[in-house]
Amino acid sequence: MDLNKLLKAMLVALPVLAISACSSTSTESTQGNGSNGTEVSNGGVETGSATVIKTPEEIRAEKEAELRKDNVIYFDFDNSQIKAAFAENLRAHGNYLLEHPNVKVMIEGHTDERGTPEYNIALGERRAKAVQKFLQNMGVQASQMTVVSYGEEKPANPGHTEAAFAQNRRAVLVY
């Protein structure tokens, strides 16, 4: 638990350190110019900065961090199959969990309101378990994941239209 918090703190702290390092450099150079007492005109000099070369790993990590912001995947009516459109998103979550074995995720399964509440609890669990299985197949440890089905009890959209139903048939990854 503490290690987990430390990791999270570092994730936030590292970019902040990097930013402050950059800004302090630029401040120093301005001060340097001022202490000389001479006004340096921009005499045709242009400065350029080198692009940070990211490793493929870093590029992937950034992209996946972006994907992970989306923690909801949607299902067809009375169906618990994970649609191809959401596979990339789920893989991003899976890789994150693989790289952070101390991070735990709660997978919530939800349905629309058609059918009966208790049948929908069973269907919601099937959806959450489909997501669990997907992540497990990527190598994510069972101990990192818990599954809960809310059936039709916690709709994302409380309306009673087809559009609302589509928003409610979902699995949500909660870290």
């Binding site: 059918g115 208790e118 049948y119 609890i121």
Partner: protein
Amino acid sequence: MRTFGKWLFVVAILITSPARAALDIVITEGVDAARPIAIMPFVWEGQGQMPQQLSEVVMSDLKRSGTFSPLNVLSLPQQGLSDVADFKGRDWSGVDSEALLVGHVKPYGNDQYQVKFQLIDLIKSQLPQQGATPSPQSLLLDQSEVLISASQFRSYAHMISNRVYEKLTGIKGAFLTRIAYIVVDRSQDKPYHLMIADYDGYNETMLVKSDEPLMSPVWSPNGRKLAYVTFENRKSQIVIQDIFTQQRQVVTNYPGINGAPAWSPDGKTLAITLSKDGQPDIYLLDIATKHLRRLTNHYSIDTEPSWFPDGKSIVFTSERGGRPQIYQMNIQSGKVRRLTFDGEWNLGGSVTPDGKAIVFVNRTNNRFHIARMDLDTRFLQILTSTTLDESPSIAPNGTMVIYGTVYQGKQVLAAVSMDGRFKARLPAGQGEVKSPSWSPFL
């Protein structure tokens, strides 16, 4: 254990305080088919105001039963009648009603009132007379005299309704019963409420208020306790709560689904759904010992158990045939047979009190309605014409079904008679109302 403590505070069990009645029954269909009945306002023989007009409660009860249609009081040939001794048979010859209810209320001091009612046989009074005219007493179908306090008026009126209903139909009245249901009011910080009320919506009381969903309330056979599902600890658990003492006990807390509780007729066992062993299956939980016995073991979904009145078998919903359908299992032999074949889905079944039929949710052409199937003939009848119907619960006398539906974009409760002819809606006040459960006879 830590998480349990953490989430315990989100549930507040409330001191039973009557709330505003959220239910107001609107009869939408079936009044024409009802039998006319004459009900005379009970005569007040005291000073000032009568605490409550009992006959109005009786009129509402009989009207809501779908079986009777009380006649307009002003159209009755005699007014202010309170005893058969003053009954003038000849005046009533043109009245299209099989019976007449009269009564009086007399103060007896110290919050005590004498209430007397008489049910007069109008058919017998109109038979051609042979020889001597019948004595007034011989026209009585039923009568009773009691001493009650003002607070007992409403329940005593339901008692009178029960007696009138049983005398005239031969079926026990279900007017002294309660319903439990869930209200979801998303405008409140604890949106999920477990409520109980008299069957007609009066005396509504909140039993539990929670941040997280509450589901599937169901009455114990003695009407004292409710079993229901709570998510207060961010997982499902089955709880038994005494409605009088508020004593509350978590009876299952297994990993995965803990759901669909159903009391056995003897009140000792809960049939429940658990998914701890992989997929949702039906188990029997001995409430006293917590001993668990697995009933079904199938890779598909098995859920929604409901008992036959003899306690020897259950019906349940299973996807073993590919789609949800209703099956019956003999508890001792474990033998399973499929009951429903019509329609795309059939689920959420319960057995009528006589054990001869099941009531359930039927999906046909993607529409969800409440249906009834006779177990001998396998004749399936769709009872409702409302939208997204679910959670049917049968009155203890088997005459009426209460269920959840969607009306004007809101979840509300509705009722339908077992023959599908009488239909009524119980509009909600605040929030969505769902998962009704009709109590046993109280």
